[in-house]
Point group: C2
Chain length 228, copies 2
């Protein structure tokens, strides 16, 4: 068990972190569904492409603050052509210059041809490998905004290659550039690999004393009309 994965001969590919656009919705939807399966939460799953599109990329001007001031998605995608100056639309977003890095890709299990075609469909050779969805939160005690990371996902065959770190550290970098005080997220308690990684590799604190409370469905409706 002393062999090192990083010593294996991999394929050099270009990894890119960029802002998602509305044309990424089918890939984002597919990844969210895969994530729900992994987290054993498919019974709570009611996402649709149309809802994702209207809530993440609203068209009413009032409802669409610039990226980083509301719900924001970074995509990490891979290109086997190692072409750094691909001038597709995603590189032209005025709010964020894509971050590029060469990685030595050692593909894991589960790489399926149909899946790969789906994830690189009409993307100039870029194959979507993962995403992170985050948005501003606020700490009154710091009187500062932070970022809350709602979801971080890397497709199964691309895990353990540093792509999750590339996504999360880009969020952290943006947070520090914006003068924010924190980056926060939640982890489900049985995912001990993730918890170890966050604490030992990232230096994050896990706060065991706080519990999430959620008001939803009928209870939300009833409470909303309590004062009527």
């Amino acid at each position: 068990m002393s062999s090192s994965v990083s010593a294996s001969a991999g394929t050099k590919v270009l990894a890119r972190v960029r802002l998602a656009t509305v044309s990424d919705i089918p890939q984002i939807y597919r990844m969210i569904h895969q994530m729900a399966e992994f987290e054993r939460l498919t019974d709570h799953f009611s996402a649709t492409e149309s809802l994702l599109s209207s809530t993440l990329f609203p068209t009413a001007p009032n409802h669409s603050p610039p990226p980083f001031y509301s719900f924001t998605v970074f995509i990490v995608d891979l290109n086997r052509n190692l072409v750094r100056d691909v001038s597709d639309d995603t590189n032209l977003n005025p709010h964020f210059t894509p971050m590029l890095r060469e990685v030595d890709l050692v593909e894991g299990e589960g790489s399926v041809e149909g899946e790969r075609l789906f994830f690189e469909k009409e993307k100039n050779g870029w194959e979507v490998a993962g995403f992170v969805l985050f948005f501003p939160n606020y700490s009154t005690f710091l009187s500062k905004p932070g970022f809350y990371v709602e979801d971080l996902f890397v497709r199964k065959e691309f895990r353990r290659q540093g792509l999750g770190t590339m996504l999360l550290s880009t969020v952290a970098k943006k947070a520090t550039e914006m003068g924010m005080g924190r980056v926060e997220w939640c982890v489900i308690d049985w995912n001990v690999n993730a918890i170890d990684f966050y604490q030992e590799k990232m230096g994050a604190k896990v706060l065991p004393e706080w519990k999430i409370c959620r008001l939803t469905d009928d209870a939300l409706q009833a409470y909303a009309h309590k004062e009527d």
Copy 2:
């Protein structure tokens, strides 16, 4: 121990939930400090009035989405004059019509004259009694926004009169009006009175399996520059 507080003769006052304005900053600051004392978290407290003002009421147009699309504060205040048509600025906010309700106020312990003057300073007879700070969050599984309640606070002498419920149910009402799927918040695990209230009186679910992770200070800086 069988006497009922609600049977005591109280004073009829008018309670109002309204959007906060920048002129509420001194009162909001004072309440946040009182909250930090109650939660035994004053060592994490680094709020200032100036930071609160610039982050909750930013002046750059790009950075100030309308209320409910970013950090939003509702104030609950009380008026002993029972005048419903007070035409102060706070009633003229185009984004939210204040909610008014008569309450039978039975003041608790801790009412101090100096405090009261501070909390009603220059507010046409309205005395600030509490606040709630909330902002949109997002559930990918629902593909819908919700509200996350960062802080809910009612001044000690005004507790157990329904003012916290008035604040939270106004947030819930706004969430349902905006087609949101959830209202969420966190509770510290030793605050069993609060947990009982949320579960039994509100019908909220407490999710014991999720833990909050936080990256802050030096660890945030280090991680932000990991890919440099």
